[in-house]
C-alpha cells in the first residue's frame, strides 16, 4: 500500500543526516588531535581532556552551569507542568489566548531581545545580577518548552480515564496523584531533561542577565573561541555534546515508547 522509498528519498535523508552530524563528528575527532595546530593531524591523544582538568576557571564555569541547569530545569518543569495543565484541563479562563501566547513566544523570540529585556527588569529591580538572575531567565525560557511537551502528552492520553476515576469517587487531588501524574510522568521527565539541556547550552540570555559573580560554561567557551579555534575548547565542547546527547536520547525514549493509556490501544 505504501509507496517505497526511491533512491532520491534515500539520498535526501542520508545527505541530510550527514550534513547534521559531520560537523559535530569533525569537532569531536579534532578534540583527540595530539597537535596544537588545528589544521594538522598529529595522531590520537587525550591531552586536551587532561588539560581541561587543570583549567580552574573552566571547571568553575562548568560547576556554575550545572548548578544553574539543575535549578532552572526544576523550576521550569514545575511551572511548565502547571501551565500545560492549565491549557489542557482548565477549558475556559480569562486571558487564555494571552496565556498560550506568553508560553510559546519566549521560545521563538530572538534571544538578544529577550535577554536585553530581562536585563532591564533586573536593573530596574536593583537586584544583584548573577546566578539567580540567569536562573530566572532560563526558567522563563524553558517553562514554555516543558509546557509544550507535557501538553502533547495530556492531549494524547484519554481524559475519560480521569473522569472515570472521579465518577468512582476519587477526589480531584487523588485523581491527579493516581491517574494524571503517572500518565504524564514520562513527559515531565523528558521536559526536565530538555530544559536542563536548554539552560546548559545558552550563551546569549546568560550573557545579558549575569553579573560579575557568575560565569557559565558557554560564556567561558565563547570568550575563548571568538579568538579562534582551540583544541581545548574542542574537548570541552565534545563533553557537552555527550552530556546533552545522552539527556536528549533519554528524553526521546521517555516520550516515544511509553503507553499513552488510550483504551483503544490496550
Amino acid at each position: 500500500m505504501m509507496r517505497k522509498a526511491s533512491a532520491f528519498n534515500l539520498a535526501a535523508v542520508t545527505l541530510g543526516l550527514a550534513f547534521l552530524y559531520l560537523p559535530i563528528a569533525v569537532l569531536v575527532i579534532y578534540s583527540f588531535n595530539a597537535s596544537r595546530l588545528v589544521a594538522a593531524w598529529g595522531g590520537w591523544s587525550t591531552r586536551w581532556y587532561a588539560a581541561l582538568a587543570a583549567d580552574a576557571p573552566l571547571l568553575e564555569a562548568a560547576s556554575t552551569s550545572i548548578r544553574l541547569a539543575l535549578v532552572a530545569a526544576t523550576s521550569a518543569t514545575m511551572l511548565g507542568t502547571l501551565a500545560a495543565l492549565a491549557l489542557t484541563r482548565v477549558t475556559r479562563f480569562r486571558g487564555r489566548a494571552m496565556f498560550a501566547a506568553m508560553i510559546y513566544a519566549p521560545l521563538l523570540m530572538p534571544e538578544v531581545v529577550t535577554g536585553l529585556a530581562m536585563l532591564l527588569l533586573f536593573i530596574a529591580a536593583a537586584v544583584d545580577r548573577g546566578f539567580w538572575t540567569i536562573a530566572i531567565a532560563h526558567t522563563t525560557m524553558a517553562m514554555g518548552l516543558v509546557a509544550v511537551i507535557v501538553q502533547t502528552r495530556l492531549i494524547a492520553f484519554d481524559a475519560t480515564l480521569e473522569e472515570a476515576a472521579m465518577d468512582l469517587g476519587a477526589s480531584p487531588a487523588t485523581t491527579f496523584r493516581t491517574v494524571t501524574l503517572p500518565l504524564i510522568a514520562p513527559a515531565i521527565a523528558a521536559g526536565w531533561m530538555l530544559a536542563f539541556a536548554l539552560s546548559l547550552d545558552d550563551l546569549v540570555i546568560a550573557s545579558f542577565t549575569t553579573g560579575p559573580s557568575a560565569t557559565t560554561l558557554p560564556i567561558r567557551i565563547y570568550s575563548e573561541v571568538r579568538l579562534g579555534v582551540n583544541p581545548e575548547m574542542n574537548a570541552v565542547s565534545s563533553i557537552m555534546i555527550g552530556v546533552v546527547g545522552l539527556a536528549v536520547i533519554a528524553a526521546s525514549l521517555l516520550t516515544k515508547f511509553r503507553p499513552t493509556g488510550r483504551i483503544s490501544r490496550l
Binding site: P110, D201, S207
Partner: protein
Amino acid sequence: MNSVPPQQRRAWPEKLAVRIPYVWLLVFFVLPLAMLLRISLSQPARAQPPYAPVFDLTAGWHGITTFFDGLSLDNYRLLGSDPLYLVALLKSVQIAAFATLLLLLIGYPIAYGITRMPRRARAVLIALVMVPLWTAPLIRTYAWMSILRPDGSLNWLLLTLHIVATPPLWLTTDAAIYIGIVYSHLPLMVLPLYATLQKIDERLIEAAADLGCPRWRIFWQVTLPLSAPGVLAGALLCFIPAVGEFIVPDLLGSLQTPMIGQIIWNAFFANVDWPAAAAVAAALFAFLVAPLAIFLHQTMRAVERAR
C-alpha cells in the same frame, strides 16, 4: 449518576495551575518587553543607572507623569539618521529570508524522504534529525569555524577532490553565515514539514496516480498544497529567530557589515549605550510582532483542534 461537566469541578488547584505560571510570565516576560519599549523611548542618560527613570508605581501619580514626560523618540530618530542600523536590519531580514528559502529547499526533501521510510525507521530518523538541535548553538557554530577556516576541512576536501585550485575564503563571508544559519535551523524546518507530510492521506496520492497524473504533478498539485501549514510553520520557526541571530554572524560573519543581533550585542556590551541597544531591540521586536502573531495563531489553532 451523570458525570459532572468539567467546568463545574474547578477548584483552587486549577486556579493555582493557571495563576502561578501566568503571573511568572507576566513579571518575567511581558513586563521586561514593556520596559524595553519604554526605555527605547527614553533619553540617553549617561548617569547611573544609565537611563531615565522607569515606570515607578511606588511614586504614585508623580511616577506616572514622570513616565510620560520622559518619553522621547530621539533614540528612534537615531535609528533613522544613522544608516548603520537600517542597513543592519535590512541585511538581517534579507539573510533570514534567503536562509529560510534555502532551509525549505533542503528540509523538504529530507522530511519527505523520512515519510517514505518504513514506519519503525521514521521515529528513529526524526529523532536523529532533532538531536543536534539540543547541542549548544555556540558549539554547533564553533564546529563550523574550524571547518570553514582557510586551512580547514572544507578547503582540504575541495582541494583534494580538485574542485578548486586555490582555497576560497569562507569565514567573514555571507556564505558562511548562510551555512551557519541553515545548519542550526534545519531540525526546526524538518520537524513541522514531517508532521504535516506524515498526515497526508496516502489514498489521495494513489487516486491521482490511478487517474494518470504524472508524479511531478501529484507533488505540485496534491502533496505540496496539503503540506502548506507545515511549510508556513517551518518558515516562521526559522525566520523569526534567524533575523535576530547573534552567534552565527559573530563567529562566522564579518564585523564590517553586522547583522542586527550583533548591533544590539555591541551597543550593549561594547558601547554601553543602553537606550540605543534598547531602541534597536525594540525596533526588531516590533518588526517581528506580525510573523510571531501568525505563528502563535496557527499553533494555538492546531493545539485547540487536537484537544
